[in-house]
């Protein structure tokens, strides 16, 4: 226990051997880069490219580990380094030519891409899989834990679920305390000069106090809403004293095993300040929902949590993601609690603690279920905050110069923060073909031989490498689509940060919004314009094809590029047509056996999805003749309870699904224990999250995914046009307030 609460300085110190290795690595990498920049003709480049492709084949087929994996990955990266050296030295149009400026922009966009790619490869060169560290049998030695659930404006129903689940976390009796940190009911808010706001704050304050008392969790609030979420947590730290702190966002419902799987590491390593776990979301994000890919393609964040964080962990650079993480109070307090200079307080805090020599690690086991923004505008609000926050870190706490970080940590943080420069690159990639199609400007000076030797090998190798690294967790071009969706809005926000790095303010991501009907997001207009411009450019390209037969070689490349842009733009437009849905909270997929008990008897059934309010079961074939019923009881087992529980339900829909009788129902909890059981049923078991993720994780072909996205985007865009016609003919466009929230941010 002493070691958990220890405030002793980290043991890292200066490891001469590590320093020597890092210095040698830097010198050798620099020398190798210089070597790569030498012009030695094209034959060697072809040979190197062939070796790299062979290496990729080995990586794909044999999946080697250890040094061979590192060697092969570095060979592939070397091809890209060669490409970019050549790109830098020889391919930028002359300064006094019309193509110089667009050529330079394209070069800089590629620079960002290659930079992130090379750093990303470094990060992911040997991801670490953490072996579980169990807590000792003697519970007296276990550290005390405070579960902090900061909240700003979340609904009490949502908070009830989270707090209930937090209370159900398995841990030593008397060593776990749960606190709701209410920033929506602060003294400042309760005394707001606006009487309506003041009344709302008072109401919230009182309602949540009652809720906390009912659930047996602590209620904490503060005087003023300073420093947003970070300030809220720091204020709570002054009123709590647990050795460890588990931080959960208000919508992040923990599973019961979250501490069993994390707290043990703190006993093993006194320098450990953080154990981060993945964020698992039970509802689709706007792209997944509006294009309908939620069940078919891995979620966007899976690449980060399934690969990148493990890579960061290998370099002791896994960082705090704001929630679903356990931190050691002693180390956290050493840096004054959660940092607040930037609006990504989580990463900033981790950076500070890493720079002091403390360690972090990452457990790839989803143990919270959260909600993603329901609307595209909410999604953009969230991403603008992330982008601005990471840019603040880059500008205000540049990891390259941050004192105390190890060299790999610098590269890892640089990789994480510089990734968010993608809006610039993405927009340039969108525009670059247009320079040629509309104005005939040449933005890339190279012969076809050189293009084949350098660019083609680079593109093929980097695509294959990315597919190998992330293919199971991110379908090809899905990243590009997400980037395009965000780039249009985050570009300006990033410029604002660059102009004034301290300006951005923390904005809470709206979640659990009520979107009951289809509507066109107010953010759709830029994508309408982009599609129009790209289509006109295609027409111009076809004209050029006929008018300038000598340009066809180049034109074919540019038109191909423009076509990919069109596919992405069409899909992006489809995303902005918001799909209405009945349920507010995420539907939790399940495959749990239940007994469907009616007055006539019990029937075996399978619970296939559920929320804490509603669910759906499939009856077995024998039940097809079952008479329709309105009320019934569902019997099942839930995590944390040995006995079978019984929940009353009201059936509101009978239907067919996959040839079986499907019954949709609403839960009718009678007691607090019923409600607690519902939370256990829905959120108690982390294995369910892993199983669901695994079901979506499979590799997709590049062309196939491109066609799939185009198909979905086209279908959704056409639906949007049809909806718009109907709306124009009828009452007009529906614009829920939530759709406009992010427009001005």
């Amino acid at each position: 226990l002493n070691s958990v609460a220890s405030t002793a300085a980290p043991r890292r110190g200066t490891n001469p051997r590590a320093l020597l290795i890092a210095a040698a690595w830097v010198v050798w990498a620099a020398a190798l880069t210089l070597f790569a920049a030498q012009d030695v003709g094209l034959q060697g480049q072809y040979l190197l490219g062939a070796v790299a492709l062979a290496g990729l084949a080995v990586l794909h087929i044999a999946k080697p580990k250890g040094a061979l994996r590192v060697l092969l990955m570095l060979i592939v990266v070397f091809v890209s380094v060669r490409y970019f050296a050549w790109r830098t030295l020889y391919t930028i149009p002359p300064v006094d030519s019309a193509g110089f400026l667009p050529g330079l922009l394209l070069y800089l966009a590629e620079l960002q891409g290659v930079f992130v790619y090379v750093l990303g490869t470094f990060v992911n060169i040997m991801p670490v899989e953490r072996a579980p560290v169990a807590l000792p049998e003697n519970e007296d030695t276990w550290p005390t834990v405070d579960v902090l659930v900061p909240s700003y404006n979340e609904d009490s129903d949502l908070l009830r679920v989270t707090l209930t689940a937090a209370s159900q976390i398995r841990y030593a009796e008397g060593k776990l305390n749960v606190y709701l940190l209410d920033d929506g009911g602060t003294v400042q808010k309760r005394n707001d000069s606006d009487a309506r706001k003041s009344a709302a704050a008072w109401a919230r304050h009182e309602e949540l106090q009652v809720l906390c008392a009912e659930l047996g969790v602590g209620y904490l609030t503060r005087e003023r809403n300073e420093h947003a979420k970070a300030g809220n947590i720091n204020a709570a730290l002054r009123h709590t004293e647990g050795d460890l702190i588990l931080i959960l966002d208000a919508d992040h419902v923990p599973t019961q095993d979250i501490l069993e799987r994390t707290a043990g590491y703190f006993l093993k390593d006194p320098d450990l300040f953080l154990v981060q776990t993945p964020h698992f979301f039970i509802n689709p994000d706007p792209l997944e929902r509006n294009l309908g890919t939620f069940d078919r393609l891995p979620s966007e964040n899976e690449m980060f949590y399934s690969v990148v964080q493990k890579g960061l962990d290998s370099w002791n650079a896994s960082f705090f993601c704001g929630s679903a993480a356990v931190l050691r109070r002693a180390h956290l307090m050493e840096v004054g609690g959660i940092a607040g200079m930037t609006i990504t307080e989580d990463a900033e805090t981790a950076l500070e603690l890493h720079s002091r020599g403390y360690k972090s690690l990452y457990i790839d086991q989803p143990m919270v279920a959260g909600l993603q923004p329901d609307t595209f505008s909410g999604f953009i609000t969230q991403r603008i905050r992330w982008a601005q926050g990471m840019m603040q870190i880059l500008l205000l706490k540049n990891p390259l110069w941050k004192r105390g970080l190890s060299f790999p940590q610098r590269l890892c943080y640089l990789s994480s923060s510089s990734f968010w420069l993608f809006p610039f690159a993405r927009l340039v990639f969108l525009l670059a073909p247009l320079f040629y199609l509309f104005f005939g400007l040449k933005v890339f000076v190279a012969t076809m031989d050189e293009f084949l030797a350098f660019a083609v090998f680079h593109v093929v190798c980097s695509l294959m490498m990315s597919n190998w690294l992330f293919g199971r967790y991110r379908a090809p071009f899905v990243s590009d689509l997400y980037e395009l969706l965000q780039a249009v809005f985050t570009f300006g926000a990033l410029l604002s940060v660059i102009r004034n790095p301290r300006k951005p303010e923390f904005k809470v991501t709206p979640k659990a919004e009520d979107v009951s009907e289809d509507f066109i997001s107010q953010l759709a207009r830029p994508f309408v314009a982009i599609n129009a411009v790209l289509l006109v450019a295609t027409v111009v390209g076809v004209w050029r094809w006929h008018a300038f037969p000598l340009e066809r070689e180049h034109l074919a490349l540019v038109l191909g590029w423009n076509t990919v842009n069109i596919v992405l733009a069409v899909a992006a437009l489809g995303v902005t047509f918001e799909r209405g849905r009945a349920r507010v909270f995420g539907t939790i997929p399940r495959c749990r056996p239940v007994n469907f008990v009616t007055a006539e008897g019990a029937v075996r059934a399978t619970l296939i999805d559920t929320t804490t309010e509603e669910g759906t079961i499939l009856l077995g074939a024998a039940a097809l003749s079952a008479r329709r019923v309105d009320y019934a009881v569902l019997q099942t087992q839930v995590p944390g309870r040995e006995e079978v529980i019984a929940l009353q339900i009201h059936v509101f829909e009978h239907g067919q699904r996959d040839g079986k009788q499907a019954i949709s129902f609403r839960y009718l909890p009678q007691t607090d224990e019923d409600r607690a059981d519902l939370v256990r049923l829905c959120y108690g078991d982390s294995a369910a999250w892993s199983a669901f993720q695994a079901g979506r994780q499979r590799r997709h072909t590049i062309i196939g995914t491109l066609a799939y996205l185009f198909l979905l985007g086209t279908r959704r865009s056409l639906a949007m046009i049809a909806w718009r016609r109907r709306a124009n003919a009828g009452a007009g466009m529906s614009k829920p307030a939530t759709a406009t929230q992010a427009a001005g941010q």
């Binding site: 050798w28 070597f35 790569a36 012009d39 060697g44 190197l48 570095l74 012969t447 300038f548």
Partner: protein, 789 residues
């Protein structure tokens, strides 16, 4: 456009008359210019009928073939305005591929850019014979150029593959020009030598008459300098010097001759016509009869003065007076080199370079040619670029597929589309030319406008009536920094610039050694010296020429018949050279080795042409021989017969690509030459270039063939064998490379040199890269281990 076809016949059917004509093709002399000479009343001149085989004046000494959609052949006419009586006539016999579309294919003929004839291309009609009149009024005072341009369209379409299969060929034996040249009767003048084209024989042969054999090194050196002097005054045309022991007959014959020797020796040759030589002397002497060419006397009272006279003649900067003779001045201005070597890492405006309008492309479009003299010791195997920044304009309304092609040393590199319907005034268009296309020495960048075709004429370009593309003189060329390392052996470098023998740094430390004193060997040395001086653009006054090696180590060119060359030297030339022989490897004496060269019928000779089908070859040759001569026998016929009878180079062109098409039997002759460069066995870091043939006569013939562009420009590797009969060339690289002179010491030069070496060894570079990556991988793994906790 003048379009006059005097007479044109197509037939594929041999006749007795044709058979008779084909008999005229046999002979031994290289070329002849002869005919009746008749005085023109009251003019003070006589007429001399000249018959010039087109193959002897074809630019570059290459094939008489037009390839592709717009193939082109250019001939340097040995005729001048005001020096011919009446029009010139060109007789050609040509054949085309069967795939050509007759309706859209034409053969255009231009004299100095003006169209003079349009001939059909129709393979179905058989071989076409035509006689074309070249109006004398179109002749310029000098540098007259006859151009054949074939617009050819393949029946399968306009793509590159189809274009590559298009050809039209001239029968080299049946294509010639005839004209009456005025034989001036005005007193001979040294000033006439400022353009010695009229002095030399049509094929560039220069007999140098000496009193007996050339025994003295001074005489050998003086002859070389004299040959250099004339070679430097005829530009890039080939000069072949022959040493002739003077007697009465030697003074006769067409074409000018040099009489070389001390005062007493000249007096012995010329007798009463010998001039009074009181010092270093240069003088023109009338020939013994009107039909013979004039005599240039190079003399002095002793060898020193003889050398001084020859040295003065060799200097093209020496102003030759309009007088019959002169004493060579004690001080001669420094010779002006043809073009200074460009400094690397600098940009040059076209106006500062030798930019010429050189012929036409696409029928009527002027071709712009830029000479780019690069250092002889440059090493550039990497992918860096010579950057062109072009300012140009082009006319409106060109077909959309019109282009300005850019060629480096004859090889297509890039193009600029001339596809703006409104025309264009373009500034700063940048084109980057890979440095590895350039060679040490002079390089040629050619800009060929090709005006495209419109739908109405298929893929055949439409000739424009006026120049439509203009490159401006303020266009620039930027030469990147170059590694400067003299790497040897490198016959390509030798062929491009004469390196290292012509390099100012190495020339004083170089020599040419004649292995024997016979006329053939001496002639070969002089011919070679003349060629080297042309490459250097100046006389090689510091280059030693002699019969014995210098006591101190020098870079040496050894010229000799195989039986006169030390066996050890042959052995040092490399085992590869031995394989060029038909006998066992060279180890002991050459006499054990066997015949020197390559083209014996029973040998698996390395010459590629020998691998071609002999049966096809003979059949093709027969077809040409049986072609009819349809032109009427007129007063030129006698001269024609003489030329054809004296021309032994029946199978003149043969290489990998064209031997089958031409049907030439490269193995018909068994003579050939070999050139091998290697590190001197007795002086490390010194280069020996051995030029040899089986015997002296073959040596002379082969050196004459060697200096022709068709062979010289194909020198490569460190061993080259060629056939004087077929001009087939085989090159190989075998010797271990070495360098002469210092290695670079400056970091940037070291970097460039290492890069070039790596570029030449891509596998080595790849392995080196992998090694570097492996080290980084090891360090990465070590770093990862540090992270485990």
């Amino acid at each position: 456009m003048h379009r006059t076809v005097i007479q044109m016949t197509r037939t594929g059917i041999p006749t007795m008359h044709h058979a008779l004509c084909s008999l005229l093709l046999a002979g031994t002399a290289l070329v002849a210019v002869t005919g009746a000479t008749a005085a023109q009343p009251g003019s003070g001149t006589a007429l001399e009928t000249r018959v010039v085989p087109l193959r002897s004046v074809v630019e570059g000494g290459g094939l008489l073939e037009l390839r592709g959609r717009s193939g082109q052949l250019r001939f340097n006419l040995p005729a001048e305005a005001g020096k011919t009586a009446g029009d010139l006539k060109v007789r050609v016999a040509y054949d085309s591929t069967r795939e050509v579309v007759p309706q859209r294919s034409r053969l255009w003929v231009y004299l100095n850019g003006s169209g003079v004839a349009e001939l059909p291309l129709d393979r179905e009609e058989g071989v076409t014979s035509a006689e074309i009149v070249l109006p004398a009024g179109l002749l310029a005072e000098r540098d007259n150029t006859l151009t054949f341009w074939a617009q050819q369209e393949h029946r399968d379409g306009c793509d590159a593959k189809a274009a590559g299969a298009l050809w039209t060929r001239f029968d080299p034996n049946r294509s010639y020009m005839l004209f009456d040249a005025e034989h001036s009767r005005r007193p001979a003048s040294l000033a006439d030598l400022s353009d010695p084209s009229g002095f030399l024989q049509v094929d560039g042969t220069l007999p140098i008459l000496t009193a007996g054999a050339v025994e003295r090194p001074a005489l050998l050196r003086a002859g070389a300098l004299a040959a250099e002097g004339l070679a430097l005054r005829i530009g890039d045309r080939t000069l072949t010097a022959r040493q002739v022991a003077a007697d009465g007959a030697a003074l006769r014959g067409s074409g000018g001759k040099i009489v070389l020797g001390t005062r007493d020796e000249v007096a012995g040759i010329l007798g009463a016509r010998a001039p009074a030589v009181t010092g270093p002397y240069l003088g023109m002497v009338e020939a013994p009869d009107a039909e013979s060419g004039r005599l240039l006397v190079v003399s002095g009272r002793d060898d020193a003065e003889l050398l001084a006279a020859a040295q003065a003649l060799a200097n093209p900067a020496l102003a030759l007076p309009d007088a019959p003779d002169m004493m060579a001045p004690a001080r001669v201005p420094d010779p002006k080199t043809r073009a200074a070597v460009l400094e690397p890492d600098r940009a040059y405006a076209f106006s500062a370079l030798s930019v010429t309008t050189d012929g036409r492309s696409n029928g009527t479009e002027p071709r712009t040619v830029v000479d780019l003299p690069l250092p002889g010791d440059m090493v550039a195997s990497d992918n860096r670029k010579v950057a062109l920044r072009l300012n140009y304009s082009y006319a409106a309304g060109l077909a959309r597929n019109s282009v300005l092609n850019v060629l480096v040393n004859g090889r297509y590199v890039s193009m600029i589309a001339l596809d703006d319907p409104a025309g264009g005034e373009v500034r700063g268009e940048e084109i980057r030319l890979p440095l590895n296309l350039f060679q040490p020495g002079t390089n040629i960048i050619a800009f060929e406008p090709l005006i495209g075709a419109d739908d109405a004429v298929g893929c055949t370009a439409r000739p424009a009536t006026a120049a439509t593309v203009r490159l401006h003189a303020d266009s620039e060329i930027a030469v990147p920094d170059l590694a400067r390392v003299a790497r040897q052996p490198d016959l390509r470098q030798f062929g491009a610039s004469g390196y290292p023998y012509t390099d100012p740094n190495f020339e004083p430390n170089s020599e040419i050694l004649a292995s024997n004193r016979d006329a053939a060997t001496v002639g070969a040395v002089w011919t070679l010296a003349a060629r080297l001086s042309q490459l250097a653009g100046r006389p090689l006054t510091d280059l030693d020429i002699g019969f014995k090696p210098s006591p101190r180590p020098k870079h040496a060119i050894v010229v000799g018949a195989a039986d006169a060359i030390a066996p050890e030297l042959l052995g040092w030339a490399g085992s590869g050279l031995a394989s060029l022989y038909l006998g066992p490897p060279v180890r002991a004496g050459l006499h054990e080795v066997g015949p020197l060269l390559i083209s014996q019928a029973n040998a698996a000779a390395p010459i590629v042409a020998n691998e071609l089908s002999a049966s096809n070859a003979v059949a093709g040759l027969a077809a040409f021989r049986e072609m009819p001569v349809t032109a009427s026998l007129d007063r030129f016929e006698k001269a024609v017969r003489h030329v054809q009878a004296s021309w032994n180079e029946v199978a003149h062109y043969a290489d990998t690509d064209n031997a089958a098409r031409f049907g030439l039997d490269a193995g018909a002759d068994n003579d050939g030459g070999v050139i091998a460069a290697f590190e001197s066995p007795w002086a490390p870091q010194h280069t020996v270039t051995l030029i040899a043939a089986q015997n002296a006569d073959m040596l002379e013939r082969n050196v004459q063939a060697l200096v022709r562009p068709a062979v010289w420009q194909r020198l490569d590797g460190d061993q080259v064998a060629w056939s004087a009969a077929t001009l087939a060339v085989t090159a190989r690289s075998e010797a271990e490379p070495y360098h002469i002179g210092p290695l670079p010491t400056e970091p940037e030069q070291i970097r460039l040199y290492v890069n070039s070496v790596l570029a030449e060894n891509p596998a080595g570079w790849t392995l080196l890269s992998l090694l570097g990556i492996a080290v980084l991988a090891g360090l990465t793994c070590l770093g990862l281990k540090q992270r485990k906790y």
